[in-house]
């Protein structure tokens, strides 16, 4: 019996270690829909961070920017640069969209990597980055799809659909398929990267709680930033691609 209880203890320890929750959600019933409450909560926090910092930064604008204003202007310059390189000369109206995408994804990813969400316990699931959930990334990717369709249609009218038979009409199926693969790849890339990051960190923390996860967390920060940049760049590239004409 002594051996048995010993093995039970071991199993209990194993069970505790394996207490990594994947696919557990904190459901809210809104209308006829089940929504993932933890994603909404963290999204709200991210939105609050973004709006609050932006409000603070533009509260007292100076001719010679200092501190926060300087930083935010630098961020804006960076976003404008990205949109300009990807979209081309008519990038102006798309800066807000690209900037929103980039900042939301970036702050979401970093909030997942930097904020101690796990301190707050939910009835089900756990708080994590909003981009950790496929619904968020799919929503962002679909927004990108809508955006590039809108860009193409407003620029070229119905002639936009001429690009589907652009090199040869044989490529029509592939060109149509592209419209589905674009949001798919966008959403899955972001979702997979962030989920993998956080899972690796959680697993490492459950195995060795101290020091060892730190390099992986730093790597996670790096990847998160890169992912946000990739998403924004690709969105801008799709918009630019649908707006450029072969006249």
């Amino acid at each position: 019996m002594n051996v048995l209880s010993c093995s039970i203890n071991t199993l209990k320890g194993l069970y505790d270690i394996s207490g990594v929750e994947v696919g557990q959600h904190f459901y809210w019933q809104i209308g006829g829909f089940q929504v993932h409450g933890q994603v909404l909560i963290t999204s709200w926090v991210v939105i609050a961070i973004l709006l609050g910092s932006a409000t603070i930064a533009v509260r007292n604008p100076q001719t010679i920017p200092t501190g926060g204003q300087n930083f935010f202007e630098y961020v804006l310059e960076f976003i404008r640069d990205v949109s300009k390189t990807q979209i081309g000369e008519e990038y102006g109206p798309w800066v807000p969209f690209i900037g929103t995408m980039f900042l939301f994804i970036f702050v979401s990813n970093w909030s997942g990597a930097l904020l101690p969400w796990k301190i707050i316990q939910l009835p089900h699931g756990e708080l994590a980055a909003p981009t950790n959930d496929i619904n968020t990334t799919v929503a962002l990717a679909l927004l990108t799809s809508v955006a590039y369709f809108y860009a193409g249609l407003t620029k070229k009218g119905l002639g936009y659909f001429g690009k589907y038979i652009q090199p040869t009409p044989i490529l029509l199926p592939i060109n149509i398929l592209e419209d589905f693969t674009k949001p798919l790849s966008l959403s899955f890339r972001l979702f997979g990267n962030i989920l993998a990051d956080e899972l690796v960190v959680v697993v490492l923390v459950s195995l060795v709680p101290l020091v060892v996860p730190i390099p992986v967390m730093l790597l996670g920060l790096f990847t998160s930033g890169i992912q946000a940049l990739i998403f924004a760049t690709l969105a801008a590239a799709y918009i630019g691609e649908s707006m450029e004409g072969h006249h």
Partner: protein, 185 residues
């Protein structure tokens, strides 16, 4: 045996916390690692790259502003200079205009005067020429009349001269000459 299988059975159901709350397990919530990561991020971000970047940006903006201020100052100065030059040139032009008018006026007077003088001279010449011509005509007329008179006298002499008259004239002349000699003696 039941004790052994229990954990495996319960693996199917995750134990839920049931409600909102705070997880106070320091190892599970991972605040130590997070604070280290945050510290590293802030140290490297603020200390090394970001502050440099922002300083450079600020410096660039400052330089741009200063440059444009300088350019603006230079442009204003040049404008001022150009304006003063314009004013000077305008006054000079005005002076030139006034001077030119007076010069022209004077030239005109001079010209009129000289023309007047020339006219007078021409008038004089004309008068002299007329007088000269008159003189010449008078001379010619005189000569003609003289010649005719001489010719008449010669005719008269040729037709009226005979011996008696000739002798008488000669003796009268001799007498006249003789008296003249006596007078002179």
């Amino acid at each position: 045996m039941k004790n052994v299988t229990d954990p495996f059975v319960s693996l199917g159901h995750w134990p839920s916390a049931g409600s909102f709350g705070f997880n106070t397990d320091i190892l599970a919530t991972n605040p130590i690692n997070l604070s280290v990561v945050l510290g590293v991020l802030i140290f490297f971000g603020k200390g090394v790259s970001l502050s440099d970047l922002l300083d450079n940006r600020k410096q660039r903006i400052l330089n741009t502003i200063r440059n444009s201020e300088e350019l603006r100052g230079g442009a204003i100065e040049q404008l001022e200079k150009a304006r003063s030059r314009l004013r000077k040139v305008e006054t000079e032009a005005e002076q030139f205009r006034v001077n030119g008018y007076s010069e022209i006026e004077r030239e005109k007077l001079n010209l009129i005067n000289s023309t007047y003088k020339t006219l007078e001279q021409l008038e004089n010449y004309k008068n002299e020429t007329i007088q000269f011509e008159q003189q010449r005509a008078i001379n010619q007329v005189r000569q003609r009349v003289f010649q005719q008179a001489l010719r008449g006298a010669l005719g008269t002499l040729n037709s009226c001269l005979n011996n008696e008259l000739h002798l008488r004239t000669i003796s009268a002349n001799i007498g006249m000459l003789g008296t003249m000699k006596e007078i002179t003696d």
